[in-house]
């Protein structure tokens, strides 16, 4: 089927152009580089930014994993996987350790990523200052001047409204002590995984036509206040109903009888732990 298309859908010229954008993004950690986002046969807002990055990075020997909110099997993940498979014929996996390219929406996998892997995150709104300043020309100026008061002010307003830092996801980070950036809507729990990550992280916003990057071994700090330091969600006392893990990001499931159980949000991780448990039992 895939010989109807050029390998990985794009023509080589388009690939080179997007790769140049990525190189620039890697060279300026956290800086949003504009690019000529292509029309894709997937609806915008369904990860076309991430998809374009994946397509220009992927090679014949790559092994692909796609997840949506921790799940390999969601409709969105499956359709992206199908599309990439159809245009490349490459191998896919659900095993985080086996994958060489991982495209994800809303999560960073639980298993620690390595230097030989690339994590591609889908970004709906790449500008961390957008709620503070609607004009793109102005936010560009604010970034240039490192005028980031607005990011802290938004956080301050939340604290005034809700009494604490209420960002569940997409908590702004400072990259390499310079640019502030969105981590994409990953839960706060995943923010620390970006800090000094061994794996290259590329973030693509198709609709907003921007790519930013966190190169390996880059300092990533979640913004906070002196007397209200950044804190992740705490799952240390929760145990996964399926696999028995604790201290990973959990989904809360309320049973019909009103009781609550917890389950790993990262489904392939959960499966693996379950397998391990079974092997140990034998």
């Amino acid at each position: 089927m895939h010989d109807k298309y050029n390998f990985a859908f794009f023509d080589e010229g388009s690939k080179k152009e997007i790769r140049r954008t990525i190189l620039k993004a890697v060279a300026i950690p956290g800086y949003q580089v504009p690019f000529a986002s292509r029309e894709m046969p997937v609806a915008r807002g369904w990860g076309t930014g991430g998809l374009q990055i994946t397509l220009v990075c992927i090679g014949q020997d790559d092994i692909l994993k796609v997840i949506d909110q921790g799940s390999d099997e969601s409709v969105n993940a499956v359709s992206i996987k199908k599309f990439i498979k159809a245009t490349t014929g490459i191998k896919e996996t659900i095993d985080t350790e086996e994958a060489t390219i991982i495209q994800s929406r809303h999560r960073i996998p639980e298993e620690k990523l390595r230097e030989d892997q690339i994590l591609v995150l889908q970004v709906p709104t790449p500008e961390p200052l957008r709620n503070f300043e609607p004009s793109e020309a102005r936010t560009k100026e604010l970034h240039a001047n490192q005028d980031y008061t607005g990011a802290w002010l938004m956080l301050f307003e939340q604290i005034m409204k809700y009494g604490n830092i209420s960002t569940g996801a997409d908590h702004t980070v400072r990259v390499n002590d310079r640019y502030i950036a969105v981590p994409s809507p990953i839960p706060k729990f995943d923010n620390p995984k970006m800090d000094n990550s061994q794996c290259l992280i590329l973030l693509g916003a198709g609709r907003e036509k921007k790519i930013h990057a966190i190169p390996p071994y880059t300092k990533v700090k979640s913004i906070d206040f002196e007397d209200m330091p950044f804190k992740v969600e705490d799952f240390s006392d929760k145990v996964c109903h399926e696999c028995g893990s604790s201290g990973v990001f959990m989904d809360e499931i309320i049973n019909r009888d009103g009781s609550t159980i917890y389950k790993c949000n990262d489904t392939s991780f959960c499966l693996k732990q379950k397998e391990r448990g079974r092997l140990n039992e034998r």
Binding site: A144, N145, D147, T149, L153, F156, F225
Partner: protein, 227 residues
């Protein structure tokens, strides 16, 4: 008192428009402050003054005479068309700050100036809580503790008689006079050596009973300019 001015303004010019061969020729007459040929407005022409520590300088002039333009040039809201400004708090007053980079100008705004605009809409974010508006100035001046920001805000809001219970409300819901008082609290929150006030008491006079108290408080600052 020190003999060094806190702010030293030399031959400041501000014009709106490019000017033309007619109005650039000093012999030719303008229509008031405005060129009859190219419509360039000459808002400030050759303004020089010094303000020393503890001094208050009031500037009086009819409407349209360039008072607000001068304030905005000093606060770097508008680029000046010519002249020099020296601040004793910056490089001991040895550098013309008008020629500094945007980053430096921002630092000067954040740390050295407080500004109260004639129109509160210029000085406040109307959809952010009043305490948030004050926080913005604090954060810009490097105050990164919630506790400190709250105690500064509560103290100042009390001084301008805005009850603590209302500090989380957005200024949009306040009367003009209250908005102006939030602006005053904001401008003072970084404890600026120089305070710029552009008709600060407009719309305040009736409800702002403690006006003189506030002014007295204000004069403890190093210097200020008001009109």
């Amino acid at each position: 008192m020190s003999d060094k001015p806190v702010i030293d303004v030399k031959h400041l010019y501000k014009q709106f428009g490019e000017g033309c061969s007619y109005c650039r020729n000093k012999e030719n007459k303008l229509a008031g402050n405005y060129c009859p040929v190219c419509s360039t407005v000459y808002a400030c022409r050759d303004i020089s003054f010094k303000v020393y520590p503890g001094e208050i300088l009031g500037i009086v002039g009819e409407s349209g005479s360039g008072k607000s333009s001068l304030m905005k040039c000093l606060y770097f809201d508008l680029p000046s068309s010519g002249g020099e400004v020296f601040l004793s708090a910056y490089e001991k007053g040895s550098i013309n700050v008008l020629n500094e980079s945007n980053q430096i100008k921002k630092k000067l705004r954040d740390y050295i100036f407080g500004m109260i605009y004639q129109n509160p809409y210029d000085g406040l974010r109307m959809n952010i809580s009043s305490v948030g508006n004050i926080a913005e100035k604090c954060l810009a001046a490097g105050i990164m503790s919630i506790k400190d920001i709250l105690s500064i805000s509560e103290g100042l809001l009390k001084k301008v008689s805005i009850p603590k219970e209302r500090m989380r409300e957005i200024p949009k819901k306040f009367s003009g006079g209250m908005q102006q008082r939030v602006q005053i609290a904001k401008a003072l929150s970084n404890n600026p050596p120089i305070l710029l006030l552009d008709e600060p008491m407009i719309g305040c006079s009736v409800e702002f009973k403690d006006e003189r108290g506030v002014l007295k408080y204000l004069t403890r600052k190093q210097a200020m300019l008001l009109k």
